[in-house]
């Protein structure tokens, strides 16, 4: 019976076991009126929510708590009895010049890539929203790099920017310019930025969806009033698109601070080697991986990650505050709540 099969995912739930079968039996209680119906629906909700809630508790909340505990110890994975060291790791994180400089580099990386990829995505979205031939094909092809798995993308860029056999130096050679070692300092940072921008199809698609929601009448009215294309873009398109752009700023920052692409671009031929990341690409996450893999400092790496999480929360909060008034919602304030929820939860 299909009802039996579908209870399987909920089965781990002890509370779900009995409530999972309202089935045909519910008829017996039908006479008890709307209250029992409400109760039954409540029970059903818990049954449907149970797998996620249990999974969240076991696979997210518990590891988070464990991470918090680890960050207060000197756990290194080798010695059995790791010791409680209080806030020692946090003190070290905040005073370690290596950690702080990798954090600063991450900040620069975010400051360069997030605005650039949103701008590039918006430009492409405007272009593929024009009434032109084969625009569906253009959309698909420009989106294509965004779905390439990160490892595949990193390997591709390693080949393009190879010193001897790469296309980048081939182009320079054709222009009679000497090639450079792209994957080393000081150029490695720009390979990383280029690689990140290659995925701008993602922001293009999201902006495109936003563009298509803008009522055509607005642009028509502006044209009648004598606005040129640029005025129409800055005075109508951008404000109408501001919730979408705001959403992209938040998700873009959250994704970029966690970027570990430098690891993949400069991975050694030896398994799990992270020693060869050029300094300019030594981002915060790379430092975390180095502390973790190379040095086995679980406690210290956990403290670094908690710091990163606090920074993400702070940035998100800050962006929310700063964007007040700058983000334009086309709904009245009474209805603003669901609209804001949509923007946060959108990805």
């Amino acid at each position: 019976m299909s009802t039996e099969q579908i209870t399987a995912p909920g089965a781990p739930s002890p509370s779900g076991g009995t409530a999972a079968r309202p089935g045909p039996r519910t008829r017996a209680h039908a006479g008890r009126g709307p209250r029992s119906l409400t109760t039954r629906r409540a029970w059903a909700f818990y049954v449907f929510a149970a797998p996620w809630v249990l999974g969240f508790l076991a696979l997210t909340a518990f590891p988070l708590g464990y991470a918090l505990w680890l960050s207060l110890t000197n756990a290194d994975g080798l010695s059995q009895n790791s010791r409680f060291v209080g806030l020692e790791n946090y003190r070290e994180v905040l005073t370690d010049p290596e950690t702080m400089s990798s954090l600063a580099r991450t900040g620069v990386f975010v400051a360069i890539t997030v605005p650039l990829s949103i701008a590039a995505g918006l430009l492409l979205a405007v272009l593929v929203n024009q009434p032109i031939r084969a625009r569906g094909l253009f959309r698909t092809l420009l989106y294509l790099p965004a779905i390439v798995p990160p490892v595949g993308a990193a390997l591709t860029f390693k080949l393009i920017f190879d010193r001897d056999s790469g296309a980048a130096n081939g182009v320079l050679d054709a222009l009679h310019v000497n090639g450079v070692s792209w994957l080393m300092d000081p150029y490695a940072r720009w390979v990383l930025v280029t690689l990140t921008l290659w995925g701008a199809g993602n922001t293009m698609i999201i902006s495109l969806a936003g563009l298509q929601d803008i009522p055509k009448e607005l642009h028509e009215a502006a044209r009648v009033d004598g606005a040129n294309a640029w005025q129409s873009f800055t005075k109508i398109t951008v404000p109408m698109l501001s919730p979408v752009l705001f959403f992209q700023v938040i998700t873009g920052i959250i994704a970029a601070v966690q970027s570990f692409l430098p690891l993949l671009i400069s991975l050694d031929p030896t398994p799990r080697g992270v020693t060869s990341v050029p300094e300019s690409n030594y981002l915060f996450m790379i430092n975390v991986f180095a502390q973790y893999f190379a040095n086995g400092r679980y406690g210290y790496a956990s403290a670094m990650l908690w710091l990163l999480f606090l920074i993400i929360v702070a940035i998100t909060f800050l962006v929310f505050r700063l964007s007040k008034g700058a983000v334009f919602y086309s709904v009245d304030p009474e209805a603003a709540k669901p609209s804001r929820q949509r923007t946060i939860g959108g990805k």
Binding site: P22, P51, F62, R139, G152, L159, I312
Partner: protein, 273 residues
């Protein structure tokens, strides 16, 4: 000089296409060159003597098909489980009500903002203690609880379905599980397809989790590809890397191109509406 507007659009788009598709061209180009041609100066823009040998070597120098099978197993198991589990939870959030629902839902939304790496180290240590590393059990567990983003996707879809569907079923004596399984789920195939594709490609492309949880024998193509192709001196073999990467990337791209009708629009709007 003033261009007619439409041709300016075409020029910009074609320029963008060259930049965006160029890397694929170079990947293929490198995969078809023979090793000596790779070192040719000046750089050969087309392979003068194209051959498929690199593909053969890429398949045989490492146990390519074995690693591909590992990737395929993990990605398929995870995609199927996570899609069903996310639809299950999404139905609850969309159609049912109970005390605490808003709280649970806001926790669900906020986990989407949580950096995944934060749970990574403790998860690894916990799974190691439970002897679950070097097995695919973690992916089964992750799949069984659903993914917040996909739950959200299903919730949005189920929320928009007419109330009458449900009411008629209740009058007929259907329980919620049967309503979900027989009525709502069969109607949600566009979201099911989106969810399957997204979750499959996440897992196919994931590097960190398999690198952390799996040893060399159990690991995935994504991990092995990143460092697997070296000569006896430990120097990377560009041609084989390229051939291996083509075979790794093309299935994902092909899957996307087959189903992209509506997917591009769907992936974009589902997140924002």
């Amino acid at each position: 000089m003033v261009f007619p507007r439409r041709s300016a659009v075409y020029m910009l788009l074609v320029g963008a296409l060259v930049l965006f598709l160029g890397p694929f061209g170079w990947l293929l180009n490198t995969a078809l060159k023979n090793p000596s041609e790779l070192r040719a100066l000046p750089v050969h823009w087309w392979p003068h003597d194209p051959s498929l040998n690199n593909f053969y070597d890429a398949l045989t120098q490492i146990d390519y098909l074995g690693y591909a099978r590992n990737s395929l197993t993990i990605a398929t198991v995870y995609a199927l489980l996570v899609t069903l589990a996310s639809a299950w939870a999404g139905y609850g959030f969309a159609r049912l009500d109970a005390p605490g629902k808003r709280l649970i839902f806001s926790v669900l939304l906020s986990t989407m903002m949580l950096p995944q790496v934060l749970t990574l180290i403790p998860t690894y240590l916990l799974f190691a203690k439970m002897h679950l590393t070097n097995t695919y059990v973690p992916w089964v567990l992750w799949g069984l609880c659903g993914a917040p983003y996909l739950i959200f996707l299903f919730r949005q879809f189920f929320s928009n379905m007419p109330k009458e569907l449900e009411e008629a079923a209740i009058v007929d004596g259907c329980g919620q599980i049967r309503i979900f399984w027989r009525i709502f789920l069969p109607q949600s195939w566009p979201v099911i397809a989106t969810s399957l594709i997204l979750s499959f490609s996440w897992t196919w492309g994931d590097y960190i989790a398999p690198a952390l949880l799996l040893d060399d024998a159990h690991t995935t193509l994504a991990v092995k590809l990143a460092y697997g192709y070296v000569n006896e001196h430990g120097a990377p073999l560009g041609n084989l890397v390229a051939a291996g990467a083509v075979m790794y990337v093309v299935p994902v791209l092909a899957l996307f191109l087959i189903v992209q009708r509506g997917f591009v629009a769907g992936a974009a709007t589902s997140g924002l509406k």
